[in-house]
């Protein structure tokens, strides 16, 4: 019986308190949302907004399939999740109204809204949740992100139409955070039943917009869902979106994307380059027509991963020498024009339980030289690089040109230059995505920089649990640093299983201290979502869960 269950459920702590504050706190210009300036702020219904993305064009719009950032970006305005997060990362209800774990933590009863329908008319209920989880876990779906996030979930039982019971193999403190991600969004079971091809073209959700058409390599057109009634907590208004149409364009080149914004061809762009952010902010300061909205993508910070499994970084002294000589702060200041702050945390500033250890990353070339001497890298060759037994101190650095923006690649060149002073031969290898993944899979690197976006500190378990040194069948191993420390594994397991927030915080703090002390990782800065917009656009905000643009509150001044 729905009522009984609902009354027995723990209503999440943050559920009622966080609402109005949610979508704020993610902006650089301090206005909360876009268009906080002099423009009149009465919403205008109707109109078209053109959004130009640099994240790339998905090959399938259903984020259950594969599961990458381009899918999540578009999906945020079409599909909705069981839960959402507030600006501090706390879980708040969305399509679910609450959730309560069993005493042993091996099942969660998730209470659902009973008044929401998918845009094809299919009601949203527990059977739909079960069908979605089954779809994500079905190998035929070819899911990568969702299936990993549901690793501890065996199945979903329909207790009654508004109660879905998640059955787990072991406790999972990150379950609700996982369910908040767009990659685990709820889609119409009738839509899923159409098969992969149809569902990839036009996934059917409960969101403020529906997919109208998709012209490959050009745009996806979204139109308003007029019966929309499931705004996330913190949305500026309830009910259907203001915009009648969104044209979602794919513009891979950052310079043309910004030029299209400047010349008024598009209204909103993402993946702005640092110099364009400065140009737009300068323009805004002098009364121009552009604004910038930024938010730190959750998960890991952008960081260098030192491959501790193989020479030369299997020696902790060599890792410490590298970190003590890799002077990144001047590069961050000059190359990023003050648009990013140096991070000393492995976790993004938007992810709870991040811990900074600035002292572990201090620059000290004398100490670096001493450490390398101690490690036996005492020789010098004709080019000034250190040698040991005739072998040069070479560190291969594969760089993904898809993931690292030009400013970042220049920063890596500066790291190459400063570490050369103490005798490191850092060899930069710019590679396309497939080649880069291949060199990672082969452990054919000394250091690399990889992005991992996840709205939970449980990302630490994915990246640094020794189990994740073992590659997935595709060859992918998230633990690039080859960190294998039983104590760290135990801490990350505890943190991942406990629902006691204090215990979780303590375990994550200790785990990050181990990573910093062992010099496995060099944090650089947050992975920033940098959205540029024309001041014609009002009410633009970022949905905190993955810091993705949310357009249901937006309108365009005519």
């Amino acid at each position: 019986m729905p009522l009984r269950h609902r009354s027995s459920l723990l209503v999440l702590a943050a559920a009622t308190t966080a609402s109005a504050l949610l979508l704020a706190g993610c902006t650089a210009d301090g206005a909360g949302t876009s268009g906080g300036g002099s423009a009149p702020s009465t919403p205008v219904a109707g109109g078209t907004l053109t959004y130009a993305t640099g994240f790339g064009e998905p090959t399938c719009l259903d984020p259950h399939v594969g599961g990458n950032m381009p899918q999540a970006l578009l999906g945020t305005n079409v599909l909705e999740s069981l839960f959402s997060q507030d600006a501090e990362g706390a879980i708040v209800p969305w399509l679910a109204t609450g959730a309560t774990p069993s005493a042993d933590g091996l099942s969660w009863d998730v209470a659902l809204r009973d008044d929401v329908s998918f845009t094809d008319g299919t009601p949203f209920d527990a059977a739909a949740v079960a069908a979605n989880v089954a779809h994500m876990k079905d190998p035929a779906t070819e899911s990568s992100t969702a299936i990993l996030a549901l690793g501890k979930v065996t199945s979903v039982e329909v207790v009654d139409p508004t109660t879905a019971r998640f059955v787990l193999t072991e406790p999972d403190s990150a379950l609700l955070e996982s369910l908040a991600q767009t990659w685990l969004a709820m889609e119409s079971p009738a839509g899923l039943a159409r098969g992969m091809e149809a569902n990839c073209e036009d996934p059917i959700g409960t969101g403020p917009f529906v997919v109208d058409s998709w012209t490959k390599q050009d745009n996806v057109t979204l139109s308003r869902n007029d019966s929309y009634n499931s705004s996330p907590a913190g949305a500026a208004h309830e009910g259907p979106a203001y915009l009648s149409t969104i044209v979602w364009r794919f513009i891979p080149d950052p310079a043309t994307r910004f030029a299209a914004l400047q010349s008024g061809q598009v209204d909103v762009i993402d993946e702005m380059q640092p110099d364009n952010v400065v140009t737009a902010q300068d323009a805004a300061a002098s009364g121009g027509q552009l604004g910038v909205l930024t938010g730190a993508l959750p998960g890991a910070s952008i960081r260098l991963e030192l491959n501790s499994g193989y020479a030369p970084f299997d020696d902790e002294r060599v890792r410490k020498a590298f970190i003590a000589s890799a002077d990144v702060n001047p590069g961050i200041e000059s190359l990023f024009f003050g648009t990013v702050d140096r991070s000393y945390s492995v976790l993004s500033s938007s992810t709870p339980f991040g811990a900074s250890f600035e002292d572990d990353y201090a620059i000290d070339t004398d100490r670096a030289n001493q450490l390398l001497d101690e490690a036996g890298w005492t020789g010098r060759d004709s080019e000034g690089y250190r040698t040991k037994d005739g072998a040069r101190l070479t560190v291969d650095f594969p760089i993904s040109t898809n993931q690292s923006i030009p400013a970042e690649q220049s920063l890596f060149e500066q790291i190459q230059a400063t570490t050369k002073d103490v005798g490191f031969d850092v060899e930069l290898h710019p590679l396309d995505l497939s080649s880069w993944y291949a060199s990672l899979a082969a452990w054919d690197f000394g250091v690399t920089s990889a992005i991992y976006t996840k709205n939970s500190p449980d990302v630490l378990r994915i990246l640094y649990d020794s189990a994740n040194i073992i590659p997935a069948p595709s060859g992918y191993h998230p633990n690039h640093s080859h960190v294998s420390i039983p104590e760290l594994d135990a801490l990350l397991t505890t943190a991942g299983e406990t629902n006691d927030q204090a215990e979780r915080a303590d375990a994550y703090q200790k785990a990050q201290k181990i990573l910093a002390d062992g010099a496995y990782v060099l944090p650089l800065y947050d992975h920033l979502q940098k959205i540029g917009y024309s001041t014609r656009v009002q009410g633009l905000s970022l949905l905190p869960t993955l810091q993705l643009p949310y357009l249901a509150d937006s309108w365009v001044q005519q």
């Binding site: 899911s143 490959k216 030029a259 008024g264």
Partner: protein
């Protein structure tokens, strides 16, 4: 009107040699297509990267062992490379381009939906390049030493600029600053102007150089002297006599230009966010989407063969010597 010396011999040898020529040409075309498919296939499989991942959501996929084994078996990726190659060649021989790994769609239909934009771009760019090159050549050969130096300088600079740089400069001038033209493709013709200019300007530089050279040669040739002696006007000489000669190497170069334009389309379509084969190819290579890459390369190679035939035909029209051969 031609000043070419030498009698035109009637072809008395019948259809035999013509047929043989045709067959030779056909065999050449098949060889080009086979070589293109083969080089592409092995090139793509010898660089790092796993095509099975294109099938499962792209590089870095965390697909299960079962899913990987399944797609490898379904697509024959578990076979030795040489067998995969022969199987692919067999399919290609029957005209089956296969299915894209990443887009899960027939390669033929993907190419069909993208080829129009690229062809339009290439044809317009070629036309505009010819206009610029001819105009520049005629002006530079007429205006004396300074015009010749300026013309030749412009041609060298135009031929040397990289597409991506030129594209961004044009965007900066005409979109960001002047706001005359859109920075990214639009449905109307305005969106074509900058992409076409980006492709046409460097090409005009190449064409202009060879056309100007041969225009100068033709202006110094005896038939020009005799035309002048007959009282032909300077314009008449240029349009009726010299241009025909001047255009010959340009026509020959246009076959090469087609291939060059397609490679330029990769850059231009990406910078201006235009749908087309170039962008399709770039994405497919990055994902190691073997059937799609091979399909696009084959279609481009076929286009190259056809254009070469067409330029041969055009040379024959412009040059009576070739008609006799």
């Amino acid at each position: 009107m031609s000043g070419v010396v030498g009698a035109r011999r009637a072809d008395a040898r019948g259809w035999g040699p013509l047929l043989r020529g045709l067959l030779l040409r056909l065999a050449g075309a098949v060889f080009v297509l086979w070589a293109a498919a083969t080089l592409t296939f092995f090139g793509l499989r010898l660089i790092p990267g796993d095509p099975a991942q294109a099938l499962l959501g792209g590089p870095g996929s965390q697909a299960s062992a079962e899913a990987l084994a399944q797609v490898r078996a379904e697509n024959g990726l578990d076979q030795p490379l040489i067998l995969q190659y022969l199987a692919q060649l067999g399919r290609l021989a029957t005209g089956d381009l296969g299915t894209s790994y990443a887009q899960k769609n027939s390669v033929l239909s993907i190419i069909g939906s993208q080829i129009g934009g690229t062809l339009l771009l290439a044809v317009l760019a070629l036309a505009v390049a010819w206009l610029i090159a001819l105009g520049l050549a005629l002006w530079a050969t007429r205006g004396g030493r300074i015009a010749a130096a300026v013309g030749s300088g412009l041609e060298i600079v135009a031929a040397a600029v990289p597409h991506f740089w030129l594209a961004l400069v044009l965007v900066l001038i005409f979109s960001t600053t002047l706001r005359w033209l859109p920075a990214v493709s639009t449905s109307g013709p305005a969106g074509l102007v900058l992409p076409v200019l980006t492709l046409a300007i460097p090409l005009a530089g190449f064409l202009g150089q060879v056309i100007r050279e041969s225009v100068l040669d033709a202006l110094a040739a005896p038939f020009t002297l005799s035309a002048r002696a007959r009282g032909e006007t300077e314009n008449g000489i240029r349009w009726r006599h010299v241009l025909r000669h001047g255009a010959l190497p340009g026509i020959a170069l246009s076959g090469w230009a087609f291939g060059w334009l397609i490679s330029g389309a990769v850059v231009v379509e990406t910078v201006f966010a235009r749908p087309g084969l170039g962008r399709t190819l770039l994405n497919a290579v990055q994902l190691r989407d073997v059937p799609l890459v091979v399909g696009v390369v084959l279609v481009v190679a076929l286009g190259y063969v056809l254009v070469t035939v067409l330029t041969d035909g055009a040379s024959r029209l412009a040059d009576p010597r070739e008609r006799a051969a």
